[in-house]
Amino acid sequence: MAAALAARRAGVKDVLLLERDQHLGGVLNQCIHPGFGLHHFKQELTGPEYADRFVRLVQEDRGIEVSLRSFAVRLTGTRELSYLRPGALEEVKARAVILATGCRERTREMITIPGSRPAGVYPAGLAQKMVNMEGWIPGRQAVIVGSGDIGLIMARRLALEGVAVKAVIEIQNVSRGLVRNVVQCLEDFGIPLYFRHRVSRIHGRDRVEKVSVVQVDEELRDIPGSGFEIGCDTVLVSVGLIPENELLEMAGAEMDGRTNTPVAKEVNLTSLPGVFACGNAFKVYDLADWVTRDSELAGRTAAAYLAGAAL
């Protein structure tokens, strides 16, 4: 939305905004905690409030056509785009394309936690969606793997719902999340955070029953004899985000295979002329405010490209 609005302000006449979900705002809608907007609006907002500021502006703008539940299935290097929506397969050719596709969560599978595969292991963001969007409480005793922001936020969120959050397990010796989240989400709730530990096994046939935890040394090797077990019925995995750039890859853009982001000489650019990437799809930011700042830049850059500027 920030890119669309900025592109309009910079003189672009006609913007099509495709959103795969049934509402604008993406993952902000499930982030019901405060902490958004301190930089951009100089005001502390929740995720849905932050999104709503942009939704209102988008809806007022006649030059932005919003298409919800619209899923892009094909993008070419010459900016031909096909998308599905209920009732139609649409094809458009754009003069410029901005990808603001965000991130997906790294999964249990990507950090290879051995053990069985029972119910009760969720990416932290999925658990957040269950609790905040649907009112579904996934479990009663939880262990959180990784101290990313979503995991920390969910530790507090589950604690507020009466779930016993037994521990947060972090393999590094510092949190991956913001300091304020460690303080406000763990320390204020008395939730233990184990640095230099890893979950070495998940137990349980049908539903999670317990996890094995082991301490690791500086080279992340298990320290013999340091293992212990924690009983729980739920494991949330919060081990980072990966930009969702499968469309960009399909279009033939040069990609950095390690980070799944476009190879670019400057922020928001890709190797394809007229194709831009912004926000968490370009790189993983820690604050939504920085996503907005750089996405607005992407909107202006696309406008400049359309006006014939050399990039």
Binding site: P86, T112, L126, M130, E134, W136
Partner: protein, 476 residues
């Protein structure tokens, strides 16, 4: 209730037998202990339709595999609307001194009737399989091998069997088997007593226990665990064929497996275990699989892995056990069906029907046997032009639920209508949740569709049956 035949186990063997018997005027009951068919051994099958090489010529496995491959290619794939891809297989060697071994496999295969076997050199491999590593020197090419989705194969067989009158009952764990004075079987399963003249035991890992319960403790199942690692769909074109190393004594080795869904797979390991519920993966297994696969294709990296799982092969010695137990008249055991069981299943089914006939079961063909089963729609299998037509007919095909694997709301709904009652059941039928995000984005949407279709509360939705509930409480 009384049946002519009770089949215990709705894995690929039981399902194929049920479908075969459904041609005849018989009352057939198919019992499954899990919440859905294919949830036992079959769900972790690699999906390889073997050509029929690498089996001893004198074994049951040998001819059943070749015949099963033929039946599948020539009849079942089309009749049941299966997505069978005949990609062919390569058995590669790292040392030209092993050429004699390949020659032996070729000769044994030809004796069994495997068609088109050919020894190929490095130049051929460079043209047809460019990602092979430098260590590979030559290979045996078997063009009749292919790939299929193992669970969708089972679902197709079961659906078609049910269409033809077979009764399926799931969540029916057999607790006891008795004989009446008239010599009939009484099977107590899920609190219900079912009677039949004939009993077919296709209980996979538990076939030894079922056989013993029926009065024939004549063999033991030793589970042999295999860990498999699934790669991202982006690596779909990594390999053009199924790639095997020379087989060892206990297994066919670590393979590079094309799958009919696109994601290549590497594995499986082969380690005996004594625990029939041990489906855990291990750090050692991962290391073994990676080393084996990378020797054949060095560009495979740990970062390509998006999922992993383990399966248990129900081994009962080296060969299949498919026989009437003379000590328990009417009992037919179908046990030890490890690799190449998926391939052999259609042929096993015909063999079992024959055994039953030999024991006095009348096989009178039905006036109308519904041979065909309509192919379910999978957007990921069709080109965009066809997707457009589908959406025009039914808008819900344009409502995408699973972004990684391109699965629409309509496909999820169809899966539930066709019998999926668990999240895994939806996953196996549609692929939704099986991609790189692992259901992070689509799980809640799928659960809501299941709630709508099945009409039960979210706290009753399970991953794979009772005990695996996903949500503990619903906030009021």
């Amino acid at each position: 209730m009384f049946s002519d035949v009770i089949i215990i186990g709705a894995g690929v063997s039981g399902a194929a037998i049920a479908r075969e018997l459904s041609r005849y005027k018989l009352k057939v009951l198919l019992l499954e202990k899990e919440a859905e068919p294919a949830f036992g051994v079959s769900k972790s099958n690699s999906g390889i339709i073997h050509a029929g090489t690498q089996n001893p010529p004198s074994s049951l496995k040998g001819w059943l595999c070749v015949e099963g491959n033929r039946l599948l290619r020539e009849e079942l794939a089309a009749d049941l609307g299966l997505h069978f891809v005949q990609c062919g297989q390569l058995v590669v060697i790292f040392d030209l001194a092993d050429l004699a071994e390949l020659e032996k496999i070729k000769k044994e295969g030809e004796e069994l009737g495997v068609q088109g076997l050919e020894l190929v050199d490095r130049a051929w491999l460079d043209r047809h399989e460019p990602n092979l590593g430098p260590e590979v020197k030559a290979a045996l090419y078997a063009p009749t091998a292919g790939i299929i989705s193992p669970y969708r194969f089972v679902y197709a067989l079961v659906e078609n069997a049910v269409r033809n009158g077979v009764q399926l009952k799931t969540s029916r764990k057999v607790a006891a088997i008795r004989r009446t004075e008239k010599g009939e079987f009484e099977v107590v399963a899920g609190g219900e007593v079912c009677r039949a003249r004939f009993l077919v035991n296709a209980a996979g890992l538990f076939a030894d226990e079922i056989s013993a319960m029926a009065g024939a403790p004549s063999f033991t199942i030793t589970p042999r665990k295999g860990e498999e690692y699934l790669l991202d769909r982006k690596r779909e074109h990594l390999a053009n064929h199924l790639i095997f190393p020379l087989p060892s004594k206990t297994s066919k080795g670590i393979l590079i497996i094309k799958t009919s869904d696109g994601n290549p797979m590497i594995g499986p390991t082969a380690h005996d275990t004594c625990d029939k519920s041990d489906l855990s993966t291990t750090d050692e297994g991962l290391a073994e699989v990676l080393a084996g696969a990378r020797r054949m294709m060095p560009t495979i990296s740990p970062g390509d892995i998006i999922a992993y799982f383990a399966g248990l092969r129900p081994a009962a010695g080296k060969d299949f056990i498919i026989r009437h137990e003379d000590s328990v008249p009417g009992l037919v055991n179908v046990a030890g069906i490890q690799s190449p069981g998926l391939t052999a299943a259609p042929a096993i089914a015909v063999m079992v029907a024959d055994i039953l006939k030999g024991r006095g079961l009348r096989l009178e063909p039905k006036e109308q046997f519904h041979r065909l089963r309509p192919r379910p729609v999978h957007l990921f299998q069709v080109p965009l032009a066809e997707t457009r037509q589908l959406i025009e007919k039914n808008p819900a095909y344009g409502d995408i639920v699973c972004r990684c694997e391109l699965v629409s709301a309509q496909e999820v709904r169809d899966a539930v209508k066709r019998g999926a009652s668990t999240l895994d059941g939806v996953k196996f039928r549609t692929r939704a949740q099986s991609g790189r995000c692992h259901g992070g984005f689509c799980t809640t949407r799928i659960m809501k569709i299941m709630q709508e279709e099945l009409g039960f509360p979210v706290t009753a939705i399970t991953k794979r049956g009772p005990g695996s509930e996903l949500i503990k409480d619903e906030r009021k």
